[in-house]
Symmetry: C2
Subunit: 678 residues, 2 copies
Amino acid sequence: MSSEEIARKRLSAIQQQLIHSTGPADLARERANASFDVNQMKAFFAGGKEFSEALDDAYRLIQRDPELYLGDEYIFDASNAEQREVTMRQLRRYVEVKDMLKSSLRVRAFHLAMCQYSESFNMRSYVADFLFPQALRLFSTSEQYNEWIGDVLKWRTIGCFAMTELGYSSFLRGLETTATFDKKTDEFIINSPSLLSTKWWIGLAGETATHAIVLAQTVVDGKKCGIDWFMVPLRNRKTGRLVVGVTAGNIGAKCGRNGLDNGWIQFTGLRIPRTNMMMRWASVSPDGKYHPTPNPALSYAPLIGERLETIIATTLAVSRGLTIACRYGCVRRQGENNEQIMDFQSYYVQLMPGIAGLYVANIIDRITRRKWDVLVQNVDDGTIFLNNVLDIHAISAGLKGVYGWWAVEILEFCRRSLGGHAYSAYNAIGECINDFGPITTGGGDNYALMGQTAKYVLKSLKMASDGIKLEGSVEYLNNVQEALSQSSSTMMSENEILDFKFIRGALAWLLIRKAKTIETTLTGGGVAAWNDNIVHLIKLAEIHTHHYILSEYLNGLGEYESTEYKNLLPILIQMGQLWGTYVMKSLLELFLEEGYFSPSQAKMIKKVFYDLCRKTRKEAIPLVDAWALPDFILKAPFGRYDGDIYPAYLNRVRSVPDCVGVSSYWSKYVKPLTDPDP
Amino acid sequence: MSSEEIARKRLSAIQQQLIHSTGPADLARERANASFDVNQMKAFFAGGKEFSEALDDAYRLIQRDPELYLGDEYIFDASNAEQREVTMRQLRRYVEVKDMLKSSLRVRAFHLAMCQYSESFNMRSYVADFLFPQALRLFSTSEQYNEWIGDVLKWRTIGCFAMTELGYSSFLRGLETTATFDKKTDEFIINSPSLLSTKWWIGLAGETATHAIVLAQTVVDGKKCGIDWFMVPLRNRKTGRLVVGVTAGNIGAKCGRNGLDNGWIQFTGLRIPRTNMMMRWASVSPDGKYHPTPNPALSYAPLIGERLETIIATTLAVSRGLTIACRYGCVRRQGENNEQIMDFQSYYVQLMPGIAGLYVANIIDRITRRKWDVLVQNVDDGTIFLNNVLDIHAISAGLKGVYGWWAVEILEFCRRSLGGHAYSAYNAIGECINDFGPITTGGGDNYALMGQTAKYVLKSLKMASDGIKLEGSVEYLNNVQEALSQSSSTMMSENEILDFKFIRGALAWLLIRKAKTIETTLTGGGVAAWNDNIVHLIKLAEIHTHHYILSEYLNGLGEYESTEYKNLLPILIQMGQLWGTYVMKSLLELFLEEGYFSPSQAKMIKKVFYDLCRKTRKEAIPLVDAWALPDFILKAPFGRYDGDIYPAYLNRVRSVPDCVGVSSYWSKYVKPLTDPDP
């Protein structure tokens, strides 16, 4: 054959491949690369075989139930009003399904599956079914709790959590809403004294909630005594009409989660019984004596739980995004040799650390949540609670910052990985991005939260320097003197880099060195100096949080060494190494400017990182398969398990009414141009 | 006064401030900080006083015209179908307004104002009024051009640009659509042989276009001879019905720009006259002889113009985002001392380089567009065109990559700067983000484009090493030997860092050093080695593009030294310095790992950067004011010029029908829970 004939033959072979979808064969080949048992990993990631099977049952249940399952018309093409309605339809059905399932494990699995299916459902059920009851538990006395919780569990009370005001978000001490005690009637009068005091962003307040837990300035005898929580009615249970004294409405179009009825509330002289003040910590007696809380931080405790939810939210959004991006990346072919685009460095270097990050987050979530659950169970023992709450508060804030920002970054990479097709709403990454975005600015703005973590780190470091023995996430700061005595790394080989302890040690060194510098900068500068160094303080919080994540991941893996999951340890360790080198790489500039790493050490770290990305890329598909998200949860033709993506994509586009045909405005706006009357 | 009384008094003063909006006073004070004449800067940024005044007229015209102006119902609350209709309403009116305005300067101003107002309008008018006519100019013979252009200018022909296919985006040689010559009838038969060959993403093909310029494989005597452009009818001008042989439809919901009717097209044996092949470069004679193009790159020339549009698109989106974020940042108060949040380092360090970046981009846009316009005017002289097209191609690709990705990053910062309120669609940053996103992946995926720029740089460097004298954007590579002989920077003082030539020199050094390393890595590795180093190649393209930007900014400023705008030079130089140090800072890791900067030099560069951010923060408001975007263009209550943001925000929320009231689904889905039948 002449070289021209060979070329033509090759071209024709390629074209045949392209005309007939090669996706299924591509994914099958990718699946054969697994070095681990995907089913076992699926069970591990889900938190156990039993839960994993319950999840599969839940998916089946959702797909079969006409009130839970969403038709095409409600996915990416529905109006905001339709989305709110259909989400409430799901919520009502969810209550019935819970009744049927009984087993708490199956209920948890069903709830998780629904949250994967709809972020709006997630938020709506979270507020009514988790945040509100937990706030009851944390703020009310046992008598109050017993009086109220029954209606909440039966959903006669649908509650919302009315903290944030239009003018005050992260700085809660600025809140303006008042609860003024009226001794004569033994009542509080709830008031919104200004426009800025309007409660804002309150989930479920827009259309659904019958009650709110309201954070307000308690006023007794004309004096503001403290900031406390009050149980306040909003709507008539029967008619849905607003209670007199309450103005509340829907907050309108949002950048995501439009099935959630975020609302705003204004109070105008609403009277509630004194006993609707939630009196576990602070209280007002009938004769107008104010008993303050032992610690104002207690008012914000449920926010710790909310912040820890960020890890779950990250997992939900990023696992969807990565599954779609990786499957597309392995099916899509492009370029001279008709390569799978997943083999381009620009793809796998961004997607593989994402995958590793989720495997790490999975364990961090379990470990951290366990810590928090223990604390909540011990809320009656104020001492235990107060002794531990600061450390977990700092960790929860740091995790929200690190994972929230990281998820935004990874999701943007997922978006770009779809190339031009990212622009289609039907490929679902846009939804992931829009639904996730508010997490970085809501529920405590990330900048503010990271500042709090930094403050905690600096305070702890000072204590350590003063010889006080630290515990919890800052324990490693006890070695401050030792760290400061070292001026550069002795690392000499690539193997050392793969050792978690090396990475942890380097992070600890960097944190202590940077913290010492900032400490000096801040000395005597007050609030102004703080504000002028927030970027560096945030970096401090990031390093501390990464230290926590890597340490706990190592601890977490240790728990599985003699379990059925021990076969998974090699790949899980690899995930940790990839994550660790990714973190190191992102901090190289700081390591280099401190002289901790030499230029050649830095290059070595990068090389190890790039090598790990390439090495793990082979298992991209098995690794995302183990997250086991069904096609209907992914919602994206490009994420299809079978890899046959293109026909599904065109079908989806054609399923919209009037996709093909003369547009309704042709004669009104086009014809006057193209065929004007003579 | 006791300290408690002092504290109470201070608190009360703060609260008074907060209850009564301090926004107008805050912005007035910020405006007084201007070191330059804002009106003069406004004229400068607009490209001249006359154009700036024409813009003001255009804004007035839009606001007064009921067919151009959008009511609240069409902003953030409209369905996709409504958005497409109302955008076409604007487009039709635009044609009439152009007729009225006559003066080309006023038409340009009016068009720009409309594009600022609606990105969907921007894209729709761009395709029909710019891209399509330019493609006619570049691809058709003079006779063809004269025959077709009349209908295009009268809008009897509404044209679209049908290049991309479902399965082939950046790799155009893979395109499958065929145009098969039928000698007997002197016709071409246009065919989409497979699903993947469906034309996809074609702007205006969804509902509006009567014609398409179609890129297809030309087949003569059963042989594929080349990839060429064909003029193809799509719809009947009178009825809007599809021509037989054409299937085309709307592409459905997208992540942004939903007023644009992106479409897909399939051809099934559509016959067009042979003379509908656009024959400026390649041609087929009646007897079936194929005359190839002198250079296949000519087929893609209009894409250069399209890529350069990225700078305008960046300016439109980012100027809106920054204006909103900066005004909000100066009005919003938070924290212990009730600070303006704009004074937090986390805000100004992210927003100020954004502002600087747009001032730099403004000049780069002018200079680069001028180069391109000269080339298009010289298209009849094939030699001039071909001699220069490669350099501007590489630059256009680099600029699209750098500005596209940068804009996404800055817009995300703008979003976060609104805190929780970023989540409201009414604050418009979400729209900016969604409308801009596709720019990074459409019109040539950024990864692919940056790879092309890198290839050009490596090729140029090789030529320079071989002693060939380079011109254009790569001229600086002539000094390759000199750069390689230097191993580290001699910079000793902060003042040196502020010198553009220092920054430019450092970038040149870094580029050459990194390029030499990559050259070695790639040697002999073929496509596989290329794919495995794309991340580093993209970095190369970035550095080269930044070198171009800084060099041309310096040249550009020089042009104003003896004009009426010379008073603006101090602040414009500061903008360039801020941008330059921002770029340097973002590359510090690479400089450090190459040993070009020592750790202390790196810290010095960062210090200069942070100092510049703080210093320029004072002028944030005057600097965004000079972009002169009216409130109705910004669309965001938080971006209001007068700073009275909160009442406008609540009013906007309340303007949605049924904001307050019982939801339509209460009795169906809520009442069964809260008030079940007994």
